[in-house]
Symmetry: C2
Subunit: 553 residues, 2 copies
């Protein structure tokens, strides 16, 4: 049994989930995977181009489609994916789910962990696929779609493994009634809610989808994986591995199906509204996310990650240069296309207290501008940090900042990528706005745009950051202060709107990063999304405890 | 600290929650509470009649109202309760909640357990209050509103105590990075969602409200308790005790407020839709329950128990007389006004296999009719089992069964209660319907009406019972079979629509009863309601995990 083979991995993951200390099952260093892996992965990726993707076990096919274009080369990948009618997907998923649900949670955990062990052999292939669909740099593509995503998946497996064993499978209940007693045999079953649907996004097609996929599977639900039509390959490779492992272990590969579609004929709403789809995981825009959330009223269990406006509160700092360098990296990383990227910098008009005295608002702005400029123009760092812009709409938004209102302090511009001369690149723009211009900074400006907002003082900064998070959602908040009382105030205010705070990050750690087994990703408490990777709620809503009782004579 | 005083109680309850064995902190035998308690409780109840209820600590009062009428005497209780404007309730609740949230979960658990210890001194008073508002018999009033409700409250406290300590309050996270390592101090806070609202019903004003009240409180949320205007007193007594214990322990009594209203001016929707109300617990009709559930789309976290149609599947039995006696009691208990009462009896047209041979459909029907008739006319048992009918609408429905369609096998009728000659009593009616008449048996017929549905065979019975549960919800299913294969089939079919099955109950245990610490009440998976007393979901949806990180140099 695979559970015996992987018991250690699962036990360690359960422990890590509880302790929240540093833990990684899959190392984030590419070198950990041997010398052969990188060239093999790249070759394998190239061999997939310009042809139908044939690894899936799904046989019912209504046609083939594919429209991915590399943000690095501007060329289509030329890969097509099988299209399947919604009814066929649902029918096959339901049938497979019935069989999958018969397995105990330990057996499911064994098979699912085995699939992660197999996926790691594809990390480099997936990295190239991610790079050429999302525009992430190679390193981010490798880490986010590889080890980090696998760790998040394992986190979900471990949480399910633990939660589904919260109660005894069987128990004798004996109630004393004076001279007699009543005895019942009770059994407790964690009954899966039904078919799951996981809707992916174009920027993190693996990292954002794996938690929902594995959460559905560990709790006994079959799952349909609906990728963004512009970012299919990375997750298609993963689904194919899962299907292979399912089949190798006597399970129905249709337990996990790819539900690809095309921009001309999107099937997302069709899938969402199908009466047999019980669970929906969604990552993407707020407008579609709000639609998904509204399906809760129709009895669907929904998990969303939407948009938010993330704040930086600058109060005081020991080493302001270390601070601006850290922030410059945070805002440049993947050109601001991370859901955790900071956008709104709240800086008091009286300036920021530092070990070298008070720095005025303008001095801080200049330091930040200089740090961003230095980073993006650094030949060793620039393009590797920025990656490429996934799509034209994001690029256009960044180009159009002059129409925003506010005072442009730094224009964004293309940054030459020596390896890919046609890469769609753009460096972060910096715009100064008044605290009165909430119409500007209450919007999510997805991509390489940051706003410096001049506030009356830190209390005012906190008030505005809190208000934005409550009204528009926030996934992160970075704060810099050397004052313990201010720190407590920021923490209380932001936590009250269910936003976590990262204090005084400098060096090789950035507010954008959420580590599996330790950091909850999104809290689920504000408009940025109702779900959290991976708290108990993310798991326990996917199944129902049902207790049966039998009278014992 | 109260937590030290009550640590044993809480630890035992946590253990019982996990093990699901028999456990009761508060004995269900009235005699366990001493000889003085019954007369004192009765006297205390009588002293409350015909005057304003003055025990509450709430001071902002917009007026007084009361409209309770005893189903036993037909006389108004003459008690009035303070009315408070919605805005005042919310404002005071929010303020109190902020303070309450500062307490650690252990301190909250101590104070809340102390309140249960104090409530037990009011069990007899509450019993009389319950009897003369709901129409429950004295014994049921005592048990359901007293020890059983307290045990359910303790169950919620224990689940919260455990869940809120799932993660360390603080943890150092250290990530090795080659020669250096990154260190972060992390803190994990379970932030309460916000103000809670618990909406009570007229039949189980305490039992159905305490889980939500205590779940809100243990997770750090203040709570507004909105009783049914016809059944206020039992829960008002409880709220007053909670307020007293809060105040004695330096907390704001407004942490738990009674939100009474009147039939002329109901404030339920006003409260539900108030933007500051974050959590809603509701017990009552499906139509209002569906409205409450629709508020999920507006960001409310809702917990509902609505109506359902509970089935009995009769396949085979060793001792059919023991079976019909057990079922006769189940349907007569509180005149079918329990949400767990069986309604639809599915019996094969070919009859039921028993140790004495096959009994035809008609023979089973006659046995059931005789058992019900014997029970309700039993001078020692009848009125004590039936209690009284809470309201005229329920009585009228039972009287109108001839308009249902179907063949009336037994008419319901008033049963003389020697102690209360004006009691609103009615015995169960039995109606035979064809399996084709789903229009009749797919409705919940709340009150003393049961339907015998003639099916083709047990497979057909299972199919219909399953279909009813899926479409209209079910809280219980009783099944009788001596065949293990049939048993598995029933269990699988009903569990697949999230309905628990009780097999072969005879003697002093009935399908209506759900024991705290062992039986989940409602699964939350079918239209009978989305919440379950007390699974993890009932607790973890009331707070949000937020993790903060501080860079350590």
């Amino acid at each position: 049994m695979l559970i015996a083979k992987h018991q250690n991995i699962i036990d360690n993951a359960v422990k890590a989930n509880q302790n929240r200390t540093f833990y990684a099952q899959y190392p984030e260093h590419p070198k950990a995977y041997g010398e052969e892996a990188p060239p093999q992965g790249e070759a394998s990726f190239k061999s997939l181009l310009q042809q139908p993707f044939s690894r899936l076990k799904q046989k019912v096919v209504a046609g083939w489609a594919g429209e991915e274009v590399s943000p690095y080369t501007g060329e289509p990948l030329g890969i097509t994916y099988p299209l399947t009618d919604t009814e066929e997907l649902v029918k096959a998923g339901k049938r497979a789910g019935q069989r999958w649900a018969q397995l105990g949670v330990a057996d499911r955990a064994g098979i699912l962990t085995e699939s992660l062990e197999k996926i790691q052999h594809h990390f480099f292939e997936i990295a190239h696929a991610t790079m050429h669909t999302t525009g992430q740099s190679f390193m981010m593509s490798f880490q986010a779609s590889g080890p980090h995503a696998n760790d998040r998946a394992l986190e979900a497996i471990a949480m399910g493994y633990q939660q589904l064993q919260a109660y005894p499978e069987r128990q004798t209940w004996e109630k004393p009634m004076g001279k007699i007693s009543i005895r019942l045999e009770k059994s407790f079953r964690a009954v899966p809610r039904g078919l799951g649907l996981v809707i992916g996004c174009s920027t993190f097609p693996v990292w954002n989808s794996l938690p929902g996929i594995y959460a559905d599977l560990i709790t006994g639900n079959a799952v349909l994986v609906k990728p963004h039509p512009k970012a299919v390959l990375p997750i298609a490779i993963v689904v194919a591995v899962i299907q292979q492992v399912l089949e190798e272990n006597g399970q129905d590969p249709y337990t996990c199906q790819l539900a690809a579609d095309s921009s001309e004929h999107l099937i997302t709403k069709e899938l969402c509204e199908h009466p047999d789809v019980a669970l929906i995981d969604y990552t993407g825009s707020s407008s579609f996310g709000n639609y998904v959330e509204s399906l809760a009223a129709k009895g669907k269990t929904v998990f969303t990650e939407k948009a938010g406006v993330n704040s930086v509160i600058l109060d005081s700092a020991k080493d302001i240069d270390a601070v601006v360098q850290n922030l410059a990296f945070s805002v440049s990383l993947y050109s601001g296309q991370m859901c955790t990227a900071p956008q709104n910098f709240f800086i008091p008009e009286s300036g920021v207290n530092t070990s070298g005295g008070i720095l005025s608002f303008n001095e801080v702005a200049v330091k930040l501008k200089d740090a961003v400029t230095a980073l993006v123009n650094n030949p060793k760092m620039g393009t590797g940090t920025l990656g490429a812009v996934q799509n034209e709409a994001t690029l256009q938004r960044a180009k159009d900042i002059h129409q925003l209102g506010g005072k442009v302090l730094l224009n964004g511009m293309p940054v030459v990528n020596e390896e890919y001369r046609n890469a769609r690149t753009f460096s972060p723009a910096i715009v100064e706005v008044s605290s009165a211009d909430s119409g500007i900074y209450e919007k999510e400006l997805f991509g390489p745009v940051i706003l410096l907002i001049k506030t009356k003082d830190t209390d005012h900064s906190i008030q505005l950051a809190r208000q934005m998070a409550a009204k528009h959602g926030a996934i992160t908040c970075a704060a810099y202060t050397t004052d313990e009382a201010v720190k407590d105030k920021i923490e209380d205010a932001m936590n009250s709107v269910f936003t976590p705070v990262s204090f005084n990050f400098t060096g090789f750690i950035w507010v954008n990063q959420h580590a599996a087994f330790s950091d909850f990703h999104v809290t689920g408490g504000n408009p940025a999304g109702n779900a959290s990777f991976t708290n108990q709620e993310f798991i326990v809503k996917r199944f129902v405890w049902v207790g049966n009782r039998t009278f014992l004579e």
